[in-house]
């Protein structure tokens, strides 16, 4: 069957199971858009190509499948860069398809020509230019395969306009992926495995560091069995949240810069770290010279390049988390860690008392209240998509996730503007799930144009803006480390509720704690998107905190009475 390159692309995407894709048309991708109109694929018109990549990313993270973003050449392609880098740093399987000028004028600085494969080389898992219609089907299949296998990541396919227009024979069977033959590596030898087993069975104070890799591998059940077999306490990275239910007593919560002090202290006192699908990011370890000095370390990780990168480990079990955990679990003989777990409980000390949730209502509205009420009201079952900054950390602290893939957030790159578009993508992946955006007033203003996409697509998501009138996390650093010199952090914003109305979206503004629950309830009852502008305390800070580069043992604890210390008159 003879088809044009553009038709081959649409047919290939359909056969690969794609339903929805996110993009923005333009000259060099027009043949594909013409073919899209005749296909069964649903195209979501975004308002900026960065949004398309975040939507594809949100789609991928919520579904576990591949997300697809599309853009034209030149500025369309370069606008994708931030979204591609976001997906790269968080190992998210995204396939980006860009139009390119005709192969005959490649390299001539033609209108809207840019070397997008050159630009995205260090931020994609792989990228490729296609100049022939007959190469499109195979290349797209390879792109999906590369994006989703091993440690996932973004792949960009740049297709010249003449390749989209030319006709070629379409034969799905004959266009199977043909990737270069790779060496088969022995992931780890038996001695390494035995050493890990010996460490597991002799540790007195073990702790698991659970990361995103558990979710990516689909290892949740294998992980749970492993945890129960050894009775190990579990600390989670930001992206690991959801891999093990928050309501499990063995789940300690998030570790690292804004982890609870007892979690970080437990890591510092442990004699064995069992790192699973995580990469010892600096936000997790603090100062490496003082990190978990008395602990031996086992690293279960699919990416060899992560082994001994930041932290030198004693046993590296390279491989898929599920396969490695399933092999390890039957060898666990020791599970008596009662003394150690009781000790960790004691480390909690007065933390719970200092927690803002335990303090009486003073009429002030704190972000923690909003998040905690949202958690209670949704019974922890919603998909929460956050942006980056203070609200992101409060979400991680106060929204307790019991299910995998219910927290979607930009971890590695820390991309402001991620939340709104990523939530749109998540909603397309999980149309029957309740999706909430939790976003700051700074990040929201970066990509709020996607409100129009929500309206055009008639989708139902809920948006909670944690509005403190500052670029809050930067302001917090200025407060702690720059003597409260608030340079370029006070932030003027529009009336978000009125803005929502202008888009045709219901908007609410909340200033009192008592209004939080009823408003969340009424938003949930609505079948349409609702935006709620929560005007929270302006100079509240995220506690506890490990300063950048400081030791994990050196935490800035919560003030004794944050209400008195940070509140202004309402």
């Amino acid at each position: 069957m003879k088809l044009t390159g553009a038709e081959i692309l649409c047919e290939s995407l359909t056969r690969l199971g794609v339903r929805d894709l996110f993009g923005y048309p333009g000259g060099a991708i027009l043949p594909v858009y013409d073919a899209l109109g005749k296909s069964k694929l649903h195209h979501v018109l975004v308002r900026h190509e960065q949004g398309a990549t975040h939507m594809a990313d949100g789609y991928a993270r919520a579904s576990g499948g591949v997300g697809v973003a599309m853009a034209t050449s030149g500025p369309g392609a370069t606008n994708m860069v931030t979204g591609i880098a976001t997906a790269m740093l968080d190992s998210s399987p995204v396939v980006c398809i860009t139009g390119q000028v005709s192969s005959k004028v490649l390299g001539s600085d033609a209108f809207q020509e840019i070397d997008i494969t050159g630009i995205t080389m260090p931020i994609t898992k792989h990228n490729v230019v296609v100049t022939k219609a007959e190469d499109i089907a195979r290349t797209i299949r390879e792109a999906f395969l590369i994006a989703s296998s091993g440690r996932p990541g973004p792949v960009l396919v740049d297709i010249t306009k003449d390749a989209q227009q030319a006709s070629a024979e379409f034969n799905w069977e004959a266009s199977a992926p043909k990737l270069p033959p790779k060496r088969i590596r022995n992931n780890h030898d038996q001695a390494e495995f035995d050493r890990a087993v010996e460490m597991l069975n002799t540790a007195k104070r073990p702790i698991i560091l659970a990361g995103h890799g558990i979710m990516v591998s689909g290892a949740m059940r294998a992980f749970e069995r492993f945890v129960r077999a050894g009775n190990y306490p579990v600390a989670m990275t930001l992206l690991g949240i959801g891999c093990f239910p928050a309501n499990e007593p063995l789940n300690l919560g998030m570790m690292g810069m804004h982890g609870e002090a007892w979690v970080n202290n437990a890591i510092q006192e442990a004699d064995l770290l069992i790192a699973v699908g995580m990469r010892f990011d600096d936000r997790v370890t603090g100062d490496l010279r003082t990190y978990a000095k008395s602990a031996r370390k086992i690293h279960i990780e699919i990416d060899r390049a992560e082994i001994n990168k930041n932290v030198k480990v004693d046993a590296a079990l390279v491989g898929d988390a599920r396969e490695v955990l399933e092999r390890l679990t039957p060898h666990i003989e020791t599970r008596d860690h009662g003394v150690w777990i009781r000790h960790i409980t004691e480390l909690k000390g007065d933390s719970a008392v200092r927690d803002i949730q335990s303090l009486p209502d003073s009429g002030h509205l704190y972000a923690a209240h909003v998040i905690n009420d949202l958690w209670k009201e949704t019974r922890g079952e919603a998909i929460i998509v956050t942006d980056v900054g203070q609200h992101q950390m409060w979400e991680a602290q106060y929204y307790h996730h019991n299910q995998p893939r219910t927290l979607i957030t930009s971890g590695g790159l820390g991309t402001m503007g991620f939340a709104l578009p990523a939530a749109i993508g998540a909603k397309f992946a999980k149309p029957d799930s309740e999706v909430w955006v939790v976003v700051g007033d700074g990040g929201f203003q970066m990509t709020m144009s996607e409100l129009a996409t929500i309206v055009q697509e008639k989708i139902n998501i809920k948006i909670a803006i944690i509005n403190n009138g500052f670029l809050g996390m930067v302001r917090q650093w200025q407060e702690f480390f720059y003597d409260k010199r608030y340079v370029a952090t006070p932030l003027v914003a529009p009336d978000f509720a009125a803005l929502a109305n202008a888009f045709g979206i219901r908007g609410e503004r909340i200033t009192k704690r008592a209004e939080v629950l009823p408003t969340i309830r009424s938003a949930r009852e609505s079948a349409e998107t609702v935006l709620i502008d929560f005007r929270v305390e302006q100079e509240d800070s995220v506690y506890p905190m490990v300063a950048a580069g400081a030791s994990l043992s050196d935490m800035i604890r919560r003030p004794n009475n944050p209400l008195v210390e940070t509140a202004t008159e309402p």
Binding site: P177, L179, P181, K182, R183
Partner: protein
């Protein structure tokens, strides 16, 4: 200094990916040579990098993550044969020419071009040997030099061959990833 060997797909852009990766990892490349292998679809690289063992591991593992890299291996601690080749144009007049020829003989180099005012000397061997020759040639006046950079091969039965069979058929992986 660490020595890595890589087999890569012999197609445009691969060298860029490899060098870009080293740059991203902040690893300075001392020399990088690429040449064809007996299989025309595959090229072989020898990469000599200014880094320690840990950096070399990271480079090796990161290289193997590139789709177009079939195999990458740090061979620094293995028994190696290493060769560098240099063409050195040195000024030579009637007077010092005999002296030059003496040195060339000692270093088992050869003269490949003779002109009234200069000679081109071809020398191959270890980096140290070429550096040694260069040292003694300098007083005569080195006018120009071209070096290939190091190529390395593990000795004897320690084989480093490009893989030919895919680790797992792409179809199987594709099916699994769905």
């Amino acid at each position: 200094m660490q020595t890595l060997v890589a087999y890569v797909e012999n197609k445009p852009g691969v060298l860029n990916r490899v060098s870009s990766l080293a740059r991203r990892l902040a690893i300075n490349i001392d020399s990088l040579t690429v040449g064809p292998t007996e299989n025309e679809a595959v090229a072989r690289m020898t990469i000599v990098a200014h880094t320690d063992e840990r950096g070399a591991h990271r480079l090796e593992a990161s290289l193997e993550k590139l789709v177009d890299v079939l195999l990458a291996e740090n061979i620094s601690t293995r028994a190696l044969l290493e060769r560098d080749l240099a063409l050195i144009k040195v000024s030579a007049d009637q007077q010092n020419r005999p002296h030059l020829m003496e040195l060339i003989k000692v270093f088992r180099a050869r003269v490949v071009d003779v002109a009234p005012e200069s000679l081109i000397i071809e020398v191959s061997g270890t980096v140290d040997k070429i550096d040694g020759l260069l040292e003694v040639l300098r007083p005569f006046g080195v006018l120009e030099m071209a070096r290939t950079g190091r190529i390395s091969m593990t000795r004897g039965g320690d084989l480093l061959q490009p893989p030919t069979v895919p680790a797992e058929s792409p179809e199987a992986v594709e099916a699994k990833s769905k």
